[in-house]
Amino acid sequence: MNNSELYNYTLRLADNALILGQRLSELCSKGPFLEEDLAQTNIALDYIGRAQSLYNYAAQLSGKPLSEDELAYRRAENNYYNVLLVEQPDEDFAHTIARQFFYSVADCLFYAELTKSKNETLASIAKKVIKESKYHLNHSSDWVKRLGGGTELSHEKMQNAVNALWMYTDELFEIDDIEHKLIKEGVAVNSSNHKSLWLAEVTEVFKEAGLSVPENNFMMTGGRSGNHSEHFGHLLSELQYLQRAYPDATW
């Protein structure tokens, strides 16, 4: 494959979208109330649609007769390259919101840049995606403010979720040899430049929400190279069940 870096890069983007979409879709019919149930499943659908267009492109790049579904449903755990943040479970609604907020701030910065990529396919997907990302960010930052500035209990839960997920935020800005090469070609986004912007935006919302930015500097990483947290296998067993039991199932 001539495009192995581009293939891996596209797969990482697709995996982030698929796994976050899967986590959010687990909330279907279990949302805290009806409107929010609809909101979370709508957001989940946006991510799954995004994953589908990216897997479609990755399948073309692979040079093999792969389908989107094979990429999405039939790889082994260590062949998924999503960041650890998106696979973290929904311990409570505050965790869902903290995960979404951290991810969406980074996602908006990332996809706004990707619209300028020299790779036409990625740029055109990004132009579509960025509109949805902004909507997700509005939604999650509103909730951070509501829960952070709400009752004593909602504040405590929100702060706990922020503290628990903080260690997964550094990985959002990691770049390695794959990105270095593609950044030189004008294809990839240099997300390592986004960390200070991200922190500034998070800090501003936290200020309004009365939440404190964790001081803990211990950071977890590994998802982007296929080393996942213990939750990931459980997520995959549900995600992959149907395609494993009935390969190429259609309806």
């Binding site: 409107e35 609809l38 957001i43 946006d46 267009s53 055109s124 132009k127 579509k128 509109k131 949805e132």
Partner: protein, 163 residues
Amino acid sequence: MVNTKLNSNHVFNLISEIPDPEIPVLTIKDLGILRDVKWMDNSYQIDITPTYTACPAIPFISDEIKRILNDYGIQNYKLSVVYEPAWSTDLLTTEAKLKLKQYGIAPPMHTSCAKKLDASKQVQCPRCNSHKTTLLSQFGSTACKALYTCKSCKEVFDYFKCH
């Protein structure tokens, strides 16, 4: 069977009246989903675009297009889903917006005047025309809608979000 070559405008018209499966008062032409039909390399190049990346209507619409073309004996075509330029509610015609309102869905404002959804007074109730409305939920029954409440007639209604 039609053997003579139809011009691409004619093919466009054949498929333009396909209704959107979720908002059947609007056609794929009204919504701007059907983007273009061109004659190139001895076949019709048909471009459609999704409203949202995960728009579930795309497979339905594609099947409808194939069915209609098949009915007219047209075999030489290529159907592509294009993402660029990204779909926007600004593509909706004035006529389409009026049809939406009559159907009970408040039509989208122009994207330039609504950067962020809030309890904006500008969303007008499609039933009683009151401007006293509030945002109930940013997300509605489909990806393209949000839920509002009218304080005048007390009804809940869908707003087609600007996008």
